[in-house]
Structures are given as C-alpha cells and as structure tokens.
C-alpha cells in the first residue's frame, strides 16, 4: 500500500496521501515531513466523522473535494473491504496540482488500493516504516472490489442499496433494497436525516433473523410510521408507500 500512496505523492502538487477506515484509524500514509503520522492520524479521525455526516446526506457518495484558499483536500471512497469496514483515500494538495493528471492517477491508485484492502494486503500503521511489501492481492486473481457492501458475519450481500447509506442490513433481493431506499427517502420528509437510522432499526425489528424481503414491507411501514409524531404526516407516509406497493404488485402481475 505504501508503494501505491508513494505513486500519488510523486504527482506535482500532492503533499500527503493517506488511507483510513470508517473508525478514523489511519492505515497507511505518505507525506512531506510536516505531515507526520500523528498529524495524519488526528486528521483521519476528523475526516471519518465528516464522512459519517456525508453519509447522512448522500449515502452514495464517491468523491469529496474541499477547496481551500491555499490548497485542496480530495477524498475518495474505497468502499467496503471483506472485513466489512469502509475505507477512504485522502490527498492533501496545493495549487500546483494538475486536476486532470491527478484524476487518472487517483483512479489507478484506487483500483490498486481496493485490491490490496480486499486481499489483506493492507499495511498496518505499525509497519509503515518498513520497506514496501509485495502486494499479494495485486497479482492474484481476486477481482477488485466493486464497492458492494458485504455482511461480515452472515456472508449475505446486497446491491442497489448504497444510495441510502443502509450499509449494515441484509436484503433478499434488489427489489427489497429499492423498497428500503423508498422508505428512507419518504420517512426523511418527516423526520430528517435520521430516517436512515430508523429504517435500519426497523428492519432489525421486523426481520431480525432473515434478510429483509418484500413480504415484510407492510410490517416495516407500520413500524416506521410510529416514528412520525404528526397524525396527518403519518397517514401521508403510509399512503405514499402503500401507493408504491400497489404499483409494484401491478407491475409484477403483468405477463
């Protein structure tokens, strides 16, 4: 991983590169002398919190660019690795950065980092001082991560759900995932960004042992409706999702 980060650091204008996980733990870094490990660790913690906030507003975020008076901070989501942890690549750059060159180099580095993280080739912060180790996954046949969330414990996975940020629950099929997305969006009208958390909790209540399936959709809507205080709003929420439900079943009934 050090080699990959070093390749980014070699770009004109890049002053530091780091990879951290969703807990704000620094996994690896490369940088000019001023960007030492302590500083990068501290910044990783803050950036992990910033990413959590971003997830509330835009669960499908892939890139974040912060423009400052004297430089730029670029974050790229590396998705979830096999251990279920999210990872982020960060670059600290000054005005000399050529955005076009950087875009290509970052894409290449991201693909390599995803392989390294998936294949267990992630260097821990403890061995950063060691010479770059060979990247076993980079030369193996393990395909690169496609950012699809994978449940670490059950082995179940789902797709089509990352846009809601509902990353800790399992669904039976893409239609169920789409339904959860609709629920989260509709509920957000009444309760705000916390809606995603409510949906996660509700799924655990109505479908505690099995991946969420559409068969449990009505129970879920009833459970979620309980989070809305205003009676009229609660009614609107139920009606909107029931209408979607009818439309979905009509679509399924068509030959």
């Amino acid at each position: 991983m050090d080699t990959i980060l070093q390749s980014l650091l070699d770009l004109p204008g890049v002053n530091a590169t780091l990879v951290f996980d969703g807990d704000g733990q620094l996994l690896a870094h490369r940088g000019r002398a001023v960007y030492d490990r302590d500083l990068c660790q501290q910044v990783s913690g803050w950036l992990a919190k910033a990413v959590d906030a971003v997830q509330l507003q835009q669960g499908d975020w892939e890139s974040m660019t912060a423009q400052f008076a004297d430089g730029k901070l670029l974050l790229r989501s590396l998705g979830l690795s096999r251990d279920g942890k999210s990872h982020v690549l960060a670059l600290v750059a000054d005005a000399a950065l050529n955005p076009s060159f950087a875009t290509v180099a970052i894409r290449v580095a991201m693909a390599k980092l995803k392989k390294a993280l998936d294949g267990g080739g992630a260097a821990s912060s403890q061995n950063l001082g060691a010479p770059p180790a060979p990247q076993p996954a980079a030369s193996s046949s393990v395909p690169p991560s496609d950012s699809r969330p994978v449940l670490a414990n059950s082995g179940l996975s789902w797709s089509k759900i990352s846009s809601t940020g509902l990353s800790r629950i399992a669904v039976a099929d893409p239609a169920s995932a789409a339904f959860l997305s609709s629920c989260a969006k509709e509920l957000a009208r009444y309760v705000g960004p916390i809606a995603k958390v409510y949906v996660e909790e509700s799924v655990r209540r109505v479908s505690p042992e099995n991946p969420f399936a559409l068969a449990a959709s009505r129970a879920l809507v009833e459970d979620l409706a309980g989070q809305i205080e205003d009676v009229e709003d609660r009614l609107k929420f139920r009606e909107t999702l029931a209408a979607g439900d009818r439309l979905r079943f009509r679509t399924l009934e068509k030959p």
Binding site: W61, F68, L73, S163, G192
Partner: protein, 107 residues
C-alpha cells in the same frame, strides 16, 4: 440578489439551504428538510475547516460531494454555508463556476 436566490436560479440546482457553520437553519428553497440538511452540512463544513486549519490549507471555500446519482455543493462565505443539491453529478462543475463567477463579479 441573495446568495440563495442566486444559487437556486441555476437550472442544475434542485434545492438549496442557507445556514451557518454551527448548523443553524436560515432559509431553504425547494428543500423540505432544510433544518436537517443545514445541521449535517454545517457540521461537515466545520469539520473540514478544522482539518484545513490543521493541514495549513487556509480558509475553506467550498466542498463538492459527488455520487452515482446526485451531487452536493457546499459553498462558504464568511460563516454562512449554502448547500445545494445538484441534479446530475456532471453538472457540479458548472454550479461551482457560476458561484465563483458571481462572487468575482461582486468583488
């Protein structure tokens, strides 16, 4: 013309909110959960400001968030924060440019 009117006047912008770095809600256009968005974006902007200070990057000017389906532009002016939801991620650059042009025109 206010900053919020200016930004929501752009065809690529679906909705926008005006708040501050403390997450206080001031105004919203086409956004039903203005308070929630202000809270999240204010928190985000204050954290990124803190990071920029620590890394010696100077004052934060804007943050762009991009995903598969939509994007957000968080624009800072003093302690005011404008968060705009952009319909297509590809249109983010146009929104940022329009914002920069508008600010330069006022200087």
């Amino acid at each position: 013309m206010s900053d919020l009117t200016l930004i929501t006047g752009l065809p690529e912008v679906k909705s926008a909110v005006l708040g501050d770095l403390a997450g206080t809600f001031f105004d919203a256009v086409e956004e039903q959960d203005g308070e929630g968005v202000c809270a999240v974006m204010g928190f985000l902007a204050s954290l990124v400001t803190q990071v920029g200070n620590e890394l010696g990057l100077g004052a934060l000017e804007r943050v762009s968030l991009s995903g598969a389906a939509e994007a957000h532009a968080v624009l800072l002016r003093g302690s005011s924060v404008i968060a705009a939801r952009v319909e297509r991620p590809g249109a983010l650059a146009a929104v940022e440019k329009a914002w920069d042009d508008a600010l330069q025109g006022r200087r």
